[in-house]
């Protein structure tokens, strides 16, 4: 019924030969001509390993131990290194996530493009190569001028670099393009154009695309079919609209619930627990420990694929139970009460200018956060939002203007501030991998600030407060003796929050606290922060680039661009009726979980 697939993966197993631990376990997939397959999953689920295997590559320490990968009529796993080298770049191509590291910084981009052509098409002469280069640059929406071709990668913007990388991937008209979240750094119009180009190239030459991503919202905007992986195995494969609207696997359902929605139509819910260690081999459904629908049978055997529709399969024996549930529109997020004006400002920033050396970053910032209120500071990277957060925390001292806490002006450097002020403002960092000292146990990390407070609590008191802090972030006492590397990203971030809470702060400065986390974990952390705020009457400054999250955490929003506050107001108002162009662009930039009917066109 269907034409010969471009890519077919059959029962592929990739494992660590020494231990037999499976990173990719029994995965079968096909991609038809002109098709875009979205390969989604959270970090550690094996999607990157799988996508690299499609190029015939496995990382050191891993090996494809059984199964087949066929691209067109070639079987990649049976080829030797020399043959693979020839096929990579012409039969299969790869677009990496970070364009800056994909391009050789020492060569002009024109040279690099021609290199790709001449390596695979030896009989093409210089003029012929030039024609191809010009054509492909038009395809990806770049100017075909000499000056572009003669520039070095660092002279181009991130978006331009990414487009060059994509041009390199499509110039030889490959059968299969593997893309590792390549459009995340592009603006919407470019993104749309690049994706259209990719689809066109696919259709013209009957090629296929595997698009790897952790963001289901992105998948919904471009993929025709979706494959969701969990812990090395496939969870669900099917047409994008079906999978995203009527997920058959409880994991996919949970994942969709965890995707923040800019319109705030849904309450954010995370998936409790965490994914099993990569490579744990159990003869059971790996999602069962976290699954709300799990029954004893789920723990008896690996679930077989169950057909739930045309080309739609889920590896779950409970699909019938799941079928009833839809991604609920739900009651939506209740509109927040904006703290009354009269309650007074906890934090007031007045006419703040900041910079690094002679480079100005922030201009005339004036903001205030009322007691018990939560302000989201939203802006793109480089807009100065983190600098502002650091000024507040006393980590960045190069500013003029004043920051005052409850009416008292704060010294610039944290060390010059009174202990009470340092305790009142607690900073939670973006990256939980680096904000905890790897040489300290969780207990020691959480207790650390207590040793430097005025009161000097004794051992028993410290112990009691650590327990309470762990409790308030829903971590079991079992983690106390653990070290950070033994915890998952979400757990680490909760430890960091517990450390902040232990000194009873009044203001929590959260700097992109969820950007290093997976969606399902992000939702859990956001829920936690919101609950803490309500229960403890904490004020919060929530710094983020992700507008979709704002609904769930903040009642007011301040949009910052190029170091200036563009607009500020209640979340609902700003998102619904942005007054500035930049806010409108930011709002439009947010990927949405929308029906994908148009994507197939």
């Amino acid at each position: 019924m269907t034409p010969e697939p471009v890519l077919s993966v059959e029962r592929l197993v990739i494992e660590v030969p020494r231990t037999g631990a499976r990173v990719v376990d029994d995965v079968s997939l096909t991609v038809g001509p002109g098709e875009v397959l979205g390969l989604a999953g959270e970090s550690g689920c094996g999607k990157t390993t799988l996508s690299l295997a499609l190029l015939g590559y496995t990382r050191r320490g891993l090996a494809a131990s059984s199964g087949r990968i066929r691209v067109g009529d070639r079987s990649l796993l049976e080829m030797d290194e020399d043959a693979l080298e020839h096929e990579r770049g012409s039969l299969v191509t790869y677009v990496p996530q970070d364009p800056a590291s994909a391009l050789n910084p020492a060569l002009r981009v024109g040279t690099q493009l021609e290199e790709v052509i001449s390596f695979h098409r030896r009989n093409e002469d210089r003029a012929g190569r030039r024609v191809l280069v010009t054509k492909v640059l038009e395809d990806v929406g770049l100017p075909t001028t000499r000056s572009l071709l003669e520039s070095y990668p660092h002279q181009l913007s991130g978006g331009q670099q990414q487009r060059i990388a994509i041009a390199m991937a499509i110039v030889n008209r490959p059968r299969l393009i593997v893309m590792d979240e390549p459009t995340t750094g592009l603006d919407v119009t470019t993104q749309a154009r690049v994706l259209q180009t990719i689809r066109d190239v696919c259709r013209e030459h009957g090629g296929g695309v595997v698009y790897v991503t952790h963001d289901l919202a992105v998948v919904s905007s471009l993929a025709i079919r979706v494959a969701v992986m969990y812990a090395g195995r496939l969870a669900e494969v099917g047409p994008a609209d079906q999978v995203l609207q009527r997920p058959a696997h409880p994991y996919v359902h949970g994942l969709l619930q965890a995707v923040p929605d800019i319109e705030g139509r849904r309450e954010l819910t995370g998936i409790p627990g965490q994914a099993p260690d990569p490579g744990r081999r159990l003869e059971q459904c790996l999602f069962a420990p976290r699954c709300p629908l799990a029954v004893e049978e789920c723990r008896q055997a690996i679930p077989p694929p169950v057909a739930v529709g045309e080309g739609h399969r889920a590896w779950c024996i409970r699909v019938a139970e799941q079928a009833g549930a839809r991604v609920a529109a739900g009651p939506g997020v209740a509109p927040r009460e904006v703290a009354a004006e009269g309650s007074g400002a906890l934090l007031a920033i007045d006419d703040l200018d900041a910079g690094y050396g002679s480079r100005p970053v922030l201009h005339g910032i004036s903001l205030s956060i009322p007691i018990g209120a939560s302000l989201a500071l939203v802006g793109e990277s480089g807009s100065g939002k983190t600098t502002l957060a650091r000024c507040i925390a006393g980590l960045h001292t190069g500013y003029t203007g004043t920051i005052s806490l409850a009416g008292a002006q704060l010294a610039r450097a944290a060390r010059a501030r009174p202990a009470a002020a340092r305790e009142a403002i607690q900073y939670v960092f973006q990256n939980p991998y680096s904000s905890l000292n790897p040489r300290r146990s969780i207990e020691q990390s959480i207790a650390q600030p207590l040793h430097y407070t005025e009161e000097h609590p004794d051992r028993a008191e410290i112990d009691r407060r650590v327990s309470r802090a762990l409790d308030s972030v829903s971590l079991s006492a079992a983690v106390r003796r653990r070290f950070p590397h033994e915890l998952s990203g979400g757990q680490r971030q909760r430890v960091a929050i517990a450390r902040a809470l232990i000194v009873e702060p009044r203001l929590l400065v959260c700097d992109e606290v969820t950007s290093a986390l997976d969606v399902s974990v992000q939702a859990v952390v956001i829920e936690l922060l919101d609950e803490l705020r309500r229960r403890r009457g904490l004020s919060m400054l929530f710094v983020t680039h992700n507008l979709a999250l704002v609904h769930s955490v903040a009642d007011e929003i301040a949009v910052i661009e190029e170091g200036r506050i563009l607009e500020r107001g209640p979340v609902e108002r700003v998102l619904a009726r942005p007054t500035s162009e930049a806010t409108r662009a930011l709002v439009a930039n947010v990927p949405r979980l929308a029906p994908v009917a148009s994507g197939a066109g």
């Binding site: 660590v16 231990t19 631990a21 990173v23 970090s43 999607k47 990157t48 390993t49 990382r59 320490g61 891993l62 990496p96 996530q97 970070d98 590792d180 979240e181 790897v212 991503t213 952790h214 963001d215 627990g273 260690d277 490579g279 059971q284 420990p289 976290r290 925390a393 980590l395 944290a414 060390r415 501030r417 202990a419 340092r422 900073y427 960092f429 990256n431 991998y433 680096s434 904000s435 905890l436 000292n437 790897p438 040489r439 300290r440 650390q448 430097y452 079991s476 079992a478 983690v479 003796r481 653990r482 070290f483 590397h485 033994e486 915890l487 998952s488 450390r499 950007s515 290093a516 986390l517």
Partner: protein, 319 residues
């Protein structure tokens, strides 16, 4: 079976101090074992030798440069003392001085390097440029200069060798510190106003311990070589004390009559140096191996293409 594991992450494997892990891993590696096999006998000779020496190291037991006999297994030296006994006595100082000089050099160098790297600015420049000047002198000549001015005192030899090490150690420690201070846990400590000294001791030093350990092994090798050279040149222990370096010097004219008083100390010093070097190399390798999975992964939400590779490759077999 998974039910009770669900709440708790994988059982703690590496809850010991990092340096213990590195050492344990080193001792399991082939290279480390060979290194130890070379070093331990020499250490035993140096430390226990005096207790088992058949004769006094300063007693005259025969004619000068007599060959090996049942009376003196390695023969006698230039003034008729028992070579075996002198060898057994002569390793103590060299070993003690080398270890002491290394420890002082490491401590001082680490203190300077972490301070420079953490405080940055003018103090950093001042410390590092001063150390650069010290580095510009040929090391052994510097030590010789000091010792020849002040005199052959053991404490001075020790300090001179430590002073040779400190600048190099400081550079290593500073480089590692610069990486560590960028970590958010250091920023957290600063934001909480924790005193600088405590930040260095609590946040920085524990995280630069592996490069410092590697450096320690390397420095110990150099210490042995330098101290042996100094005592060969007559700036270490003075006659009639027994000392390996000194023995080589005293007896080199009689090498044709009885080579043992020269060859034995040389061989022992060589084995010790090679062994320590191998061991420290093994330490370096295991420190790298242990460090990798702890290093923070990329900041992005998804696992990046190759950066995450080492994680799977190294973490999985360990579990």
């Amino acid at each position: 079976m998974t039910a009770q594991r669900e709440t708790a992450p994988p059982a703690p494997r590496r809850s010991r101090a990092l340096w213990l892990d590195v050492l344990a891993r080193t001792c399991r590696s082939r290279r480390g074992q060979v290194g130890l096999a070379l070093v331990i006998p020499i250490m035993l000779i140096a430390l226990l030798g005096p207790f088992v020496a058949p004769k006094s190291p300063t007693a005259f037991v025969g004619l000068p440069y007599a060959g090996p006999s049942s009376e003196a297994w390695l023969g006698t030296d230039g003034i008729g003392r028992d070579v075996l006994s002198r060898v057994l006595w002569g390793g103590r100082e060299i070993l003690a001085l080398a270890v002491l000089a290394t420890v002082i050099g490491i401590v001082v160098g680490t203190a300077l390097g972490t301070t420079a790297g953490y405080v940055k600015g003018a103090l950093d420049e001042a410390i590092m440029r001063t150390l650069d000047v010290a580095l510009a002198f040929p090391q052994i000549i510097l030590a010789l200069l000091l010792v020849s001015i002040i005199g052959p005192e053991l404490w001075l030899v020790c300090l001179a060798v430590a002073a040779i090490h400190a600048p190099q150690v400081a550079r290593v420690a500073r480089a590692a510190t610069l990486r560590t201070v960028e970590q958010d846990h250091v920023k957290y400590a600063e934001a909480f106003g924790i005193p600088r000294r405590r930040v260095i001791l609590g946040e920085v030093v524990p995280n630069i311990i592996s490069p410092v350990m590697v450096e320690t092994g390397l420095r110990l090798t150099y210490s042995i070589a330098i101290i042996a050279s100094l005592s060969f040149l007559g700036f270490g222990l003075q006659p009639p004390s027994a000392d390996w370096g000194l023995m080589v010097n005293e007896n080199r004219i009689g090498i044709q009559q009885n080579p043992w008083p020269v060859v034995t100390p040389i061989v022992l010093i060589a084995i010790l140096t090679v062994g320590v070097n191998m061991f420290s190399d093994a330490v370096a390798r295991s420190a790298l191996g242990i460090e990798a999975p702890i290093a923070p992964p990329s900041m992005s939400g998804s696992d990046d293409a190759l950066g995450g590779a080492e994680h799977v490759a190294t973490e999985v077999p360990a579990s």
